[in-house]
């Protein structure tokens, strides 16, 4: 049996190295290199110059991270508020024109959102929304909302109405029912949607550039000049930071969700279960 396992593991390991290992090693080495000449496989000398520059030398790094996270956060909160009632309607009601609502909500997954943003650009200009955070937030909504709706729809479709009906008979109003029964059940779906929403918002370049006109500086806007023919060490350091920020945002959401369930588990045990 071992003979069938080992070649498989070797192939997987090699693929893993090429797909995951090599890119990160290249980014890391390049960010730490003080000049990396061909054909040296390892840079001749190392320095922390690039990291020093992006972490301490330029206040714009932290400002841009703040702007990126602020935009992603607002976009995600708005998405949750819009998506939960919509998902409720899509899962629990049969009504005329449902296919149309679905087509409208999921259209931005297929039709590239920058088409709509370029089209609406001059109108945004007239309303004074360009070069503002609000304008960029509005522009980020259509590429992210469909994923949030989809995630919450999946959660809603596994929630039966029985427990809500029990709560109703015990006299719980709609708000209480939502808070104690629906919301806890939806949380994993909301968290999955929020991960996608944050990830997509963080990595937008074109849409932010068109509406922000270079005045709303998110991390991708700050990064671009460095990776398109700028200083490779700084470009690599920023790239690692950018990728790290996306991964960290996802991980912290994951951890927050696990903590929530742990606390909840303890509490319902303390109250003697359900």
């Amino acid at each position: 049996m071992n003979t069938t396992i080992s070649p498989l593991k070797i192939i997987l390991f090699l693929l893993g190295f090429v797909i995951i290992g090599l890119p990160f090693i290249a980014l890391l080495l390049s960010s730490l290199a003080a000049g990396w000449r061909w054909p040296d496989l390892i840079p001749a000398s190392f320095s922390f110059r690039a990291w020093d520059y992006i972490l301490f030398g330029s206040a714009r790094t932290w400002q841009s991270i703040g702007t990126s996270l602020l935009i992603a956060l607002i976009v995600t909160i708005v998405n949750v508020v819009l998506a939960v009632p919509a998902a409720n309607a899509l899962v629990r009601f049969q009504f005329r024109g449902k296919w149309l609502a679905e087509a409208i909500l999921f259209a931005p997954i297929i039709i590239p959102p920058f088409v709509a943003v370029m089209g609406i650009h001059l109108t945004f200009l007239r309303f004074g929304l360009t070069e503002t955070i609000l304008g960029v937030v509005l522009a980020h909504l259509s590429p992210t909302l469909p994923y949030m709706v989809r995630a919450v729809v999946i959660s809603y479709s596994t929630l039966s109405t029985e427990r809500e009906n029990q709560a109703r008979m015990l006299g719980a109003g709609p708000l209480l029912r939502f808070y104690y029964i629906v919301l806890p059940h939806l949380l994993p779906g909301i968290a999955a949607g929020a991960s996608l929403s944050i990830l997509i918002s963080l990595s937008q370049y074109l849409i932010t550039f068109i509406i922000g006109s270079g005045q709303v500086v998110t991390l991708p806007i700050l990064l671009f000049p460095f990776i398109s023919g700028g200083d490779p060490a700084i470009g690599s350091a920023y790239s690692l930071m950018f990728a790290g920020m996306a991964i960290l945002a996802l991980l912290s959401l994951d951890v927050a969700l696990k903590n929530y369930y742990k606390k909840k588990g303890v509490r319902s045990n303390g109250e003697g279960g359900e």
Partner: protein, 294 residues
């Protein structure tokens, strides 16, 4: 009355937002592509932008590049993703260890990497003075930097193809693997009773089961690559650019009179993605693909 209108009221905020910001933008762009600029006194609708565009070589060159890059990268991502899915599946069948879950998560990493970073990774690895070239030189396979082929900022689009293949392999894996995971262990045992080896099992059982969702995954990657901007902007050449890059160049570099053409490119792009998207949707419903991964 309340029962009847409730779903509509619940849907209103979300659909209203999309209609206003997204379809409003599409419509706004459509009007302007038809030459409707009330701000500068243009109220006549005409098809000038479209006729100019369809008569220009740059549009057709750009379209050709877009189709070529999207087709090659979706096929490559499909092949690699499919192979990985089968490899992970076999690993899971033979060993009960938790490692296969870890592998699965690890291979998902490129999905979370922003497009610009993915593009820059390709720059670092595949330029003539890049890491791969250094690697080949150190094992003596090439003598000069110029022996390494031009793969980044090349007119064929290899750099863009490499970047998208890297980004989308995990996506194909994500779509295909759950379908394979539904294959019961007992099927493998039954097939062994009838004398099927690994290869027979893959060909007769695993491949047919994963085929519908594999085709849909490749199709989705194709549509996504079709409307790509960041990666071709970074890794492409000035001429020809992929359609979104071409439109952006017309929109920002040209004069005000080029803007209707930029928006016309967008409308054509949107129409193409709608057709491709509808085809994908039709076949995924018909083959019941989505059931596999929900």
């Amino acid at each position: 009355m309340w029962r009847k209108s409730k779903p509509y009221l619940l849907l209103l905020p979300a659909t209203g937002t999309i209609v206003l910001l997204f379809f409003g933008g599409l419509f706004d762009g459509l009007l302007k592509s038809l030459g409707y600029f009330p701000a500068i006194g243009e109220r006549q609708l005409n098809l000038d932008a479209y006729t100019n565009l369809l008569a220009s070589d740059s549009f057709w060159d750009s379209l050709e590049l877009t189709v070529r890059v999207a087709a090659i990268s979706s096929l490559l991502a499909g092949l690699l993703g499919g192979l990985l899915a089968i490899a992970l599946f076999l690993l899971n069948q033979y060993s009960e260890d938790e490692n296969s879950r870890l592998w699965h998560r690890l291979f998902q990493l490129p999905l979370t990497i922003p497009h610009l970073v993915a593009g820059y990774v390709i720059v670092l690895l595949f330029t003539q003075s890049g890491v791969i070239s250094k690697l080949l030189a150190s094992v003596g396979m090439i003598d000069e930097m110029t022996d390494f082929p031009v793969l980044v900022n090349d007119p064929f689009g290899w750099g863009i193809i490499l970047a998208y293949t890297w980004k989308e392999v995990p996506f194909v894996l994500l779509m295909v693997y759950p379908v394979l995971a539904r294959i019961q262990k007992s099927w493998r045992e039954v097939s062994r009773v009838y004398g099927a080896g690994n290869w027979n099992f893959i060909r007769e059982i695993a491949l047919p089961i994963m085929m519908p969702s594999w085709i849909i995954a490749v199709f989705i990657v194709f549509v996504f690559t079709f409307s790509a901007f960041e990666i071709p902007f970074l890794l492409g050449v000035t001429y020809p650019g992929m359609l979104p890059v071409y439109s952006f160049q017309l929109y920002t570099d040209g004069s005000l009179s080029d803007r209707p053409e930029a928006l016309a490119v967008n409308i054509i792009l949107a129409l193409m993605t709608i057709c491709l998207g509808l085809a994908t949707y039709y076949f995924s419903k018909r083959w019941n693909v989505m059931k596999g991964w929900e």
